[in-house]
């Protein structure tokens, strides 16, 4: 994710790889969500990212900010559940804040704003067993100049680290202490997205 690769990533490949990562893990996401949520996360995310993939050529033709906004809107309209607005807000805000040809510094700032928007949308903060527990460490790693694959490993570890946390937000919060010991499905989805982006950028570099 250095400046050179951020200026001209193969957008269609990025979109397709991210969508494939979610779709191919839909069953795992559902299993995670069944443990402590309502079990719809995998199917909802699969529906949304299949819709994004179907339009990937059209998204890739747009300037990066417009493409991100359109992807976010598509997720909002197709995912459903609370995940639609949360993942949708991430991409929509990133699109709104990012420069047309961002360097790492621009990307770092835009990502921070996008993550704050997700926190506001979910009325949540880090430490509450959510996607934020992956997003904030990822943003810090981007800011610190880590390589894409280092960031992907860190995202996986951050998702894993949601296991001992107690859910405060979302359906899992109804379970209280019983949410402890399971990985948060939204955190896992986020790590999958980060890894797909990182590996595509690494292949491009």
């Amino acid at each position: 994710m250095d400046a050179a690769t951020m200026t001209r990533p193969d957008l269609k490949a990025l979109i397709t790889d991210v969508a494939d990562a979610i779709v191919s893990h839909a069953d795992e996401l559902t299993t995670l969500d069944q443990a402590i949520g309502d079990g719809d996360h995998g199917l909802n995310m699969k529906r949304g990212f299949e819709a994004v993939k179907a339009d990937s050529a059209a998204f890739a033709e747009k300037p990066l900010p417009e493409a991100l906004k359109a992807i976010g809107t598509k997720l909002v309209m197709t995912v459903g559940g609370a995940s639609g607005p949360l993942f949708g807000t991430l991409f929509m805000t990133l699109g709104k804040e990012i420069a047309a040809q961002p360097g790492r510094a621009d990307f770092t700032v835009a990502l921070a704003k996008a993550i704050d928007a997700v926190a506001a949308r979910g009325k949540s903060q880090p430490g509450q067993k959510t996607m934020l527990d992956v997003l904030y460490p990822v943003q810090a790693a981007v800011a610190a100049g880590k390589s894409p694959l280092e960031i992907a490993d860190l995202a996986d570890a951050a998702a894993e680290a949601t296991k001992p946390l107690k859910a405060i937000r979302g359906r899992a919060s109804f379970l209280g202490d019983r949410s402890i010991g399971h990985m948060d499905a939204g955190a896992r989805s986020t790590a999958l997205i980060v890894r797909a982006i990182a590996e595509t950028l690494e292949a491009d570099a």
């Binding site: 719809d40 309209m77 197709t78 459903g80 559940g81 639609g84 607005p85 949360l86």
Partner: protein
């Protein structure tokens, strides 16, 4: 329609429709009313697009009060209001109230020509302390 409109958003289309039936029977036809529920595959869930359409159907220049059930219904309703955008979004409020009781009480208040602020306040009185 000059009365405030009511929108019911549930994860279940049956809950949403049933709540709307109760509002119609108890309050009558004087209030614009719309409901939505269920995901794109016919299962339980809520959808931003469906909520935006329901707001359109129940639209009133006096405003619209939305009653929701669990978590995602609220998050999706907030997203729908944001996507509708200003100036209409300023006249839409998501109520913190139990969905059935809130819908009936809000609609009762609305049917008498109350302002959006008063309709929402009536629903909020039902919220758990």
């Amino acid at each position: 329609m000059k009365n405030v409109g009511i929108v019911i958003v549930s994860h279940s289309s049956k809950v949403a429709e049933g709540t709307a039936d109760m509002v119609r029977q108890m309050v009558g036809e004087e209030v614009p009313l719309a409901w939505c529920g269920g995901n794109a595959d016919g299962g339980l869930g809520t959808q931003v697009g469906a909520i935006m359409e329901a707001i359109d159907r129940a639209w009133s220049e006096a405003g619209v009060a939305i009653l929701v059930d669990l978590g995602g219904a609220e998050t999706n309703s907030e997203m729908a209001v944001e996507m509708i955008g200003e100036p209409r979004s300023q006249k839409i409020v998501i109520c913190n109230a139990p969905i059935v009781e809130g819908a009936v009480m809000a609609a009762t208040e609305a049917s008498g020509g109350a302002s959006l602020k008063d309709v929402v306040a009536t629903a909020h009185e039902l919220a758990p302390a």
